[in-house]
Symmetry: none
Subunit: 243 residues, 2 copies
DNA sequence: CAAGGTATAATGTATTAACAATTGGACTTT
DNA sequence: AAAGTCCAATTGTTAATACATTATACCTTG
């Protein structure tokens, strides 16, 4: 078991350092899924910080759904559930990484296409404006589990030379000053066709989760039109709402 | 400006009371959108709690996206958050009616059952507490398109004599003073088994949208555990999120 | 043997205290 | 007038401490 230490002289707050260490331990399965992590007093002693400070770190991870605490029992690593908290807005890969699932890009394909009717309507453009179409096959080390097809509004002016390694919305913000603020999604179940089945390495006709996503900027101008085909048995979409 | 007080003798934790008060103040626009709320020391003094305790409440609201803090400045009510969330809480039938789809109940079946492992865990009860199981087949005039299986926590004390014609959460509120406040949902795609296929009048193996829903009250105590099997091609689940 | 109590271990709640970092505005200097 | 300096206000960080609440396992008692 690798040991991590907290640098009390670092400008990085202790609770942030503690959070990072806990994240690493979870990702590295040194704290195992569903199992208890050391108790707070013990952990605080190990990390040489106060219980209060440690609890700040724990709280954050509990909020994110990585840990769950129970009075009288202890703190557990939550079993793998992929979540998409609406107010969190982590990118897909960040979200997965946070849960210790490393995301691999299998394919990336870019092309400029003529928009069809629904695209023209969504982007509010004429047919002669070509839009960038991006297709991505993504998944874990073992197997792909989602096929994305994205279209971007012409005003975004993507060149195709962008660094698609970094999270998409980070990239849009950094390189194009476009801030995605609002998203609308529609989710339904489908049987997959031959094309998707082939991509996701499943049988034609298997159930998939189909997600249509409309992304807008601050002024509610359309940015992206995204279609996602998720392998049905592997992907779980989580929503939390409060009134 | 209405004044709220914290009851130091109440069994409800002070930070929870503080959170509720802040929520009310924001909802009632006594703390206005985009405007600063009183500073922490001031607020703590007003509520007669320590700054640490107040910060617990603030943290929760910040995490939820209702407030945003800035060092050196203060704490603001975030603009534009409430809208999408609050109206998300239409009941299923209300939601459908709003889309012009009239909902018909095909079947309703009630029984008391022994909780299985996951139910025991969710409800935090022992095996000898029986729970009410409610099965409902619902759909349009033409055909059913969702099969619900709900389990209710024993403390709800449903008699089976309730008026299940009115929306479920209305009924719980009116007849049992139980207010459903928080729901967590997990959505995935599946092939349906014979039982569900039979209910939904589709072919065994057809894709369905499977939704697991956990409903809690204000104090985050479990109320309902709901499984929904939606005919894949007919149901669309819509999510709107803003950051 | 069953019911109930008790010790123990874990998280939950709450307070007080001190100091750090950031911001914006007031003030001072050039 | 412009630029820089300092101050006050505000949130951020951290610690130490005390007691409450809950769950489990073990022990006691009838």
């Amino acid at each position: 078991m690798k040991k991590y230490y907290i640098d009390h002289k670092s400008p990085i707050p202790l609770h942030v350092q503690a959070e990072e260490i806990l994240r690493k331990m979870i990702n590295a399965s040194e704290y195992k899924n569903g199992k208890l992590i050391p108790n707070e007093l013990e952990l605080a002693k190990q990390l040489a910080i106060s219980r209060t400070t440690l609890r700040q770190a724990l709280n954050k991870l509990v909020y994110e759904g990585l840990l769950s605490r129970k009075k009288g029992i202890g703190t557990r690593v939550v079993e793998n559930v992929v979540s998409s908290k609406s107010n969190k807005w982590l990118s897909f890969s960040q979200e997965m990484e946070a849960r210790g699932i490393h995301i691999k890009n299998y394919e990336l394909h870019l092309s400029w296409v003529k928009p069809d009717e629904s695209l023209k309507q969504f982007f509010e453009i004429k047919a002669n404006h070509k839009v960038l179409k991006m297709e991505r096959l993504r998944g874990t080390i073992d197997s792909p589990f989602v096929y994305f097809i994205s279209f971007f509004h012409p005003r975004i002016c993507l060149t195709g030379e962008e660094d698609f390694k970094q999270p998409l919305y980070e990239m849009l913000k950094n390189e194009h000053s476009i801030i995605a603020t609002l998203s609308r999604e529609e989710i339904s179940a489908r049987s997959c066709d031959r094309f998707i089945a082939d991509k996701l390495e499943i049988t034609t006709g298997s159930p998939i989760l189909f997600r249509k996503r409309f992304v807008y900027d601050q002024a509610e101008r359309p940015i992206e039109y995204n279609l996602g085909y998720y392998k049905g048995d592997s992907f779980i979409y989580t929503v939390e709402s409060r009134r």
